[in-house]
């Protein structure tokens, strides 16, 4: 260890590096490139992952959507192709039967309607919803508030509209809160304006009104168009989805194996497909990065080996002057480790710089493709440690070669 802190060892290394600028440069570039690629690839992969996460970010990722279609199997005297509707009863049954699994359950009814404000109008979706919708898919509000429990219990004629709708229906600079809109000849007071998510958005520009109000106005009695369900932490969502569908099939006298009667989307599963892709991408990144690193380390070993051949005579002289094989070996290994370390550090610095540039070029704004392309410091430390370790290992080969030659043979070399 003393050897490491001896300024003379470093003096010797400085001397041999200064003498061989080109080979040192090329060697350093080899390893530098490896770790540079690793850093940039890992960072870019992370950036993509962050990008995907942002796209799904406004949704609870453990959501399941369920709606009804037409049966494809005759059952209990019903012919196939029968259509039916979800009911509030289904909602109550699910809520009690799956109290442990279900976190939020939002029944929804939707229509398309002309929305009128004074002399302006537009065709928009009108959706009867519960306040919990905001928890399943976040509605960032520009003005006012979202629907609340009071609106539900009093079946208030209030609505929350999107920013687009506000721009289309209101005069510029007009304050929307407290104004009235006419939907299907009924006046609603605007209580909030939300901003649509720029990412996954299944509702579009929608006027949200209380579920209870919708039920009265559109006379839907106890029918429900579809529902959004989110699961509690730790629930097996796929299993829950299956169980819920089976319960619903029982309630609606649908054959248990009927594939078409209920439509459902498991958002977690869809996201899983994407994250699976990301995992693959990350694996590829690691593979390419590490392979490049190893190639770089071999380049160092190779060049050191050539150097040792080149310096056989010098090593012979040193040994004639009293250098022990150990001191020769130490010097060559230290040289190898020093080169890999320097190259690694420069590689990390350049890699980080490129990630920074990527971030400023593509990582900003709403539609950024890569968000926060970063690498974890421990990951880099491990890569760096491996690099230095491999550098030592590869340095052993030329170091060994340098000492097996008898000094007299080394001296004879011209």
């Amino acid at each position: 260890m003393k050897f490491l802190f001896d300024s003379d060892s470093w003096q010797e290394i400085y001397g041999s590096i200064r003498k061989n600028k080109i080979r040192t440069g090329i060697t350093i570039i080899g390893v530098l490139w490896g770790i540079f690629l690793l850093v940039v690839l890992l960072g870019a992969a992370r950036g993509m992952e962050n990008g995907f996460n942002k796209i799904f970010g406004d949704f609870a990722t453990n959501s399941v959507f369920v709606w009804t279609q037409a049966t494809d199997t005759p059952f209990k005297g019903f012919q196939k192709g029968r259509t039916f509707r979800l009911t509030m009863n289904d909602i109550d049954v699910l809520k009690t039967e799956y109290a442990d699994e279900i976190k939020l359950l939002a029944p929804r009814n939707q229509r398309n309607n002309l929305v009128i404000k004074d002399f302006k109008s537009g065709d928009f979706k009108v959706s009867g919803d519960y306040p919990i919708l905001d928890q399943i898919q976040k509605k960032p509000l520009l003005y006012g508030r979202f629907l609340n429990e009071n609106d539900i219990s009093s079946s208030a004629k209030v609505t929350v509209i999107s920013e687009e709708m506000y721009k289309q229906l209101f005069d510029k600079g007009e304050f929307p809160i407290g104004e009235y809109l006419k939907i299907n000849s009924i006046s609603y007071k605007v209580v909030g304006v939300y901003k649509r998510s720029s990412n996954v958005d299944i509702d579009g520009d929608t006027a949200y009104i209380p579920f209870t109000t919708f039920r009265k106005v559109y006379n839907t009695s106890d029918k429900v168009d579809w529902m959004m369900i989110t699961a509690n932490e730790g629930t097996n969502i796929e299993q829950m989805e299956k169980d819920i569908l089976l319960t619903l099939k029982g309630l609606h006298k649908v054959h248990p194996d009927d594939e078409r009667a209920f439509g459902s989307v498991n958002l977690g599963k869809e996201i899983g497909k994407v994250t699976g892709f990301l995992t693959g991408l990350q694996f590829l990144t690691w593979f390419v990065g590490i392979a490049t690193l190893i190639a770089g380390v071999f380049a160092i070993g190779n060049i050191l080996l050539i150097t040792v051949k080149e310096r056989t005579k010098e090593i012979g002289i040193r040994r004639a002057l009293g250098a022990t094989p150990k001191s020769i070996r130490q010097q060559i290994i230290l040289e190898s480790v020093f080169l890999t370390t320097i190259a690694g550090m420069i590689g990390i610095i350049f890699g980080s710089l490129v990630l920074f540039l990527i971030d400023t070029a593509f990582g900003q704004g709403e539609d950024a493709a890569l968000i926060n392309p970063t690498v974890d410091i421990p990951v880099i430390m491990i890569a760096f440690g491996t690099l230095v370790f491999l550098g030592t290992l590869i340095g052993l080969i030329p170091a060994h070669m340098a000492t097996v030659v008898k000094p007299i043979e080394a001296l004879r070399e011209e």
Partner: protein
């Protein structure tokens, strides 16, 4: 200082082996100035390499400073070389990217002496060989004679018991040969044992004892005129 008994050495050449040294007996006492003469192939370089612990002998005994040299591993050999021996080579063997001063200081590095002290000692020895002003020059900026004087300073810097010179003047002209020989004489006068290999009669004449080798055997061993005059 150096005692050799029935020394044999052969080199394998393919399936055969070349018997180079065929039983050498030689005793060199401390403070002697000995030259080994012989034509090429007589085995004189081999003898020097064995004496210098750069090579190992096959048979016979070799005592360096009273110590039997046998089953020497590289580490021990390196330490003994560093402690007892100084080398001067025909082709100087300076390290090309190190300055004259650094070259002279190198053996002290392997001795474990601090850098400051090393450079100071090295400079003293460069002054001794008259090259103090050239201390920071690289070998390729020096003439042949200067290079050899740097090499001599390097051989002396560890204060060895024996200085081994393999054709020290082989690559030099007659003027520089004289200056190098004068240096070797000075060293010997200070009490150091000097062991020179040469094929030049003029060089051998300036030493005190000449040993002639032929085909791996000593054919003559005599005190020169210089040696006789000094002895008187």
């Amino acid at each position: 200082m150096i005692k050799i008994e029935k020394l044999h050495k052969s080199y394998p050449i393919g399936k055969d082996s070349l018997h180079v040294l065929k039983g050498i007996d030689l005793h060199i006492k401390e403070g002697e100035f000995v030259s080994i003469m012989g034509s090429s192939g007589s085995g004189k370089s081999t003898l020097l390499n064995i004496v210098g612990l750069l090579d190992v002998h096959d048979e016979g005994n070799y005592f360096l400073n009273g110590q039997l040299i046998k089953n020497m591993n590289e580490k021990k050999a390196a330490l003994l070389r560093n402690k007892f021996l100084g080398f001067i080579f025909q082709s100087f063997n300076l390290i090309s990217y190190k300055t004259a001063l650094e070259n002279v200081a190198l053996p002290l590095y392997y001795k474990g002496i601090s850098r400051k002290e090393r450079l100071k000692t090295a400079l003293d020895y460069l002054e001794k060989v008259g090259l103090k002003d050239w201390a920071n020059h690289l070998p390729n900026e020096l003439s042949g004679g200067q290079k050899q004087r740097v090499a001599i300073a390097r051989a002396l810097v560890t204060k060895p018991k024996v200085v081994l010179a393999d054709e020290p003047t082989g690559a030099l002209d007659s003027t520089t040969t004289d200056s190098v020989m004068d240096l070797l004489k000075d060293i010997n006068n200070e009490g150091m044992t000097v062991f020179v290999i040469t094929h030049e009669e003029e060089v051998a004449e300036q030493t005190k004892r000449v040993v002639r080798l032929k085909d791996g055997l000593i054919i003559s061993d005599e005190i020169t005129a210089v040696g006789k005059s000094k002895a008187v």
